[in-house]
């Protein structure tokens, strides 16, 4: 199993109430997206096999539907476990954190 598949399984176990959607079949060497919906929050994960995970907390309801188009991720992690911790932190946060762009790992 590749790293995005491992992350998917780990999130399933940690937050069984979350709605997880992979954007397409797992293809060896191809990037993929994972959408995580939990309560009123939506975290999107972009995975690139050689670079790791881009993690962002998106607005489910936006005033401007163009918002976020062509924007990069808020956080970057080389390791799936670090990405998972950030995802859980975003989903469980009481308030929406200020978007910031930080590379980890």
């Amino acid at each position: 199993m590749n790293d995005i598949g491992t992350l998917y399984r780990a999130l399933q176990q940690e937050i069984p109430g979350a709605d997880l959607k992979l954007d397409g079949p797992l293809v060896e060497g191809k990037p993929n997206w994972l959408d995580v919906f939990y309560l009123d929050k939506w975290v999107v994960v972009e995975w690139r096999p050689s670079q790791g995970f881009g993690v962002s907390l998106n607005q489910v309801k936006k005033e401007d539907p163009l918002e976020g188009l062509f924007a990069g991720p808020d956080f970057i992690f080389a390791d799936w476990a670090e990405a998972k911790d950030q995802i859980l932190s975003l989903l469980h946060a009481e308030t929406q954190p200020e978007p910031r762009r930080v590379a980890h790992g």
């Binding site: 191809k30 999107v44 998106n58 401007d64 163009l66 188009l69 062509f70 990069g72 762009r101």
Partner: protein
């Protein structure tokens, strides 16, 4: 003058929004970079007004070149994708995110949006969660993405 097709209900009169400060001698003064929301509205307006594309390749290249042109003109930030995390410029999604979902339709996923491109050059940009369509442009054959 920046384009405003009036076809998108959320696109205000861009020519009114983009006011270039002018000095007494007629020269333009340095101005702040317009926000991303404004630049994206300009991008969509320009794509709407662009002549129809005739193929997937032309539409994909047209999307990239239009975004690059908007960012070049309105931000002046050098086109250096390796600086994407810090430079504030908008960059197109990378080509390896393309997925052929139907024989005539290729989908490009971005963080919050799908971009569908038809083999006939049609293009549609849609919000991932709300299904709100932000751009729906026919190809040269007059057909939209889902009408092929």
């Amino acid at each position: 003058m920046l384009p405003n097709s009036g076809r998108s209900p959320w696109v205000p009169s861009l020519s009114l929004l983009w006011i270039v400060p002018t000095e007494e001698d007629g020269s333009s003064s340095a101005m702040a970079i317009p926000p991303k929301a404004f630049r994206l509205k300009v991008l969509v307006a320009r794509l709407e007004q662009h002549r129809p594309f005739s193929s997937f390749h032309e539409a994909y290249q047209g999307l990239i070149s239009t975004l690059d042109a908007v960012e070049d003109e309105l931000t002046g930030i050098p086109n250096c994708p390796s600086n994407w995390m810090v430079d504030g410029r908008l960059y197109p999604p990378q080509r390896d995110h393309l997925r052929q979902i139907l024989p005539n339709v290729t989908r490009l996923r971005a963080k919050e949006h799908y971009i569908f491109i038809g083999a006939n050059g049609a293009m549609e940009i849609k919000d991932v969660t709300t299904d709100v369509v932000l751009l729906s442009k026919a190809g040269t054959d007059g057909r939209k993405v889902w009408e092929q």
